[in-house]
């Protein structure tokens, strides 16, 4: 398992970097909209109504974007947590932690793909 992870490390790093990039560029405005502005009633009426939201999301471009917004930050989190765990828990645990995190990320990515296709 360790050898496999080592072999695909560059790929994981690409997913991590892409996740961080997408997460940094898009998520603050996203969270601001859904988590703060919408509950406080700042978002214009109807903008987030079901029909409009569904139409945006079901559009192929929308699907792709949603997939990116879910799966990539998950890989970002998985890889970052792995280093976080080495920092706080030491290197010896990495043999167990890394496969767990990456397997989790993989599962969640599959779930995300299924969910997005199901739109």
């Amino acid at each position: 398992m360790k050898a496999l992870i080592e072999r695909i490390e560059p790929l994981i790093w690409v997913l991590f970097g892409a996740g961080f990039m997408v997460g940094s560029l898009l998520l603050p405005a996203w969270v601001f909209t859904f988590g703060i502005a919408q509950p406080l009633g700042w978002v214009p009426d109807g903008a987030l109504a079901f029909e409009r939201a569904h139409a945006l999301a079901a559009n192929p471009l929308g699907k792709l974007l949603l997939l990116a917004l879910i799966a990539l930050p998950i890989w970002n989190a998985a890889n970052h947590l792995r280093h976080f765990s080495i920092d706080l828990g030491g290197y010896e645990r990495d043999g167990a932690v890394a496969p767990l995190l990456y397997a989790g990320a993989l599962v969640l990515s599959v779930v995300a793909i299924v969910a997005v296709i199901g739109l």
């Binding site: 080592e6 490390e9 560059p10 994981i12 790093w13 280093h83 080495i86 920092d87 030491g90 290197y91």
Partner: protein
């Protein structure tokens, strides 16, 4: 001479012949206002306690011998002014290194990592002297010059959490040096070097704490080299997926 005051220097002592683990020893000494931390250590060595061991030579921040932890931060002691600190200064051997004696740390682990990245010009065909000097534009020089400024003082290794946790990690200075040669227009060895960068403990072991660059006394910015190394070795990795090793 400049003004003289008293300061207490708390120094880590360790003599493997006598001590199970390192201990500390305090020296109250007169210091001049223009002294560096190294001057205080040399005063102790010369006038108070000749059994103190520490490495130093050029005292002008270029030989890289005198890196130590000063109040918990890795510092080049010949460059670090005593006036930066209060009346008590704590000097310890570099963190993340095994300690040989007092303030002297084990360097051979670094020397092995240093050699691993093949820090020399690799060319398919070596140039003959008669061919004269290679042309290299000022811009091509600027592409790698920054990475060639490392004095191997090891401060970055002492600051890096990955170095302390992961025994395989090549570490900031070694990777930056490999990157220096990869970026040199005269070199053709990046594929060879990137194999090392892609191994366990290579560039991807780095978690980008950026501490190496924070403490570097020569503004080498090793963290940038490591990240750039990730991107560039990635290309070689991808190439390796398409073309099996040894083809080309």
């Amino acid at each position: 001479m400049s003004e003289v005051t008293k300061k207490t220097v708390v120094v880590t002592r360790f003599d493997p012949d006598q001590d199970e683990v390192p201990k500390t020893q305090s020296y109250e000494i007169p210091v001049q206002s223009d002294w560096k931390v190294l001057d205080a250590l040399n005063y102790i060595k010369d006038e108070v306690d000749p059994t103190l061991s520490h490495r130093w030579s050029c005292r002008m921040a270029v030989c890289g011998s005198c890196g130590m932890m000063v109040n918990g931060e890795p510092k080049l002691t010949c460059k670090d002014a005593l006036s930066n600190y209060g009346n008590t200064i704590e000097v310890e051997p570099l963190a993340n290194f095994p300690v040989v004696r007092d303030l002297v740390v084990e360097l051979d682990g670094f020397m092995e990592r240093f050699k691993k990245v093949k820090p020399w010009i690799i060319r398919a065909k070596e140039l003959a002297v008669e061919e004269g000097a290679t042309r290299q534009s000022p811009q091509e020089l600027a592409d790698f010059k920054q990475w060639s400024m490392c004095i191997n003082c090891m401060l970055c290794y002492s600051a890096c959490p990955v170095v302390g946790n992961d025994p395989h990690f090549l570490g900031p200075a070694a990777i930056a040096l490999g990157h220096r040669y990869n970026m040199d227009s005269r070199d053709e060895g990046s594929a060879e070097r990137n194999e090392v960068m892609l191994e366990e403990g290579g560039v991807f072991a780095c978690s980008y704490a950026n501490e190496c660059s924070e403490v570097c006394p020569k503004d080498v910015d090793p963290a940038a080299a490591v990240q750039q190394g990730k991107a560039l070795s990635l290309l070689d990795w991808a190439k390796g997926l398409v073309l099996p090793r040894g083809s080309e």
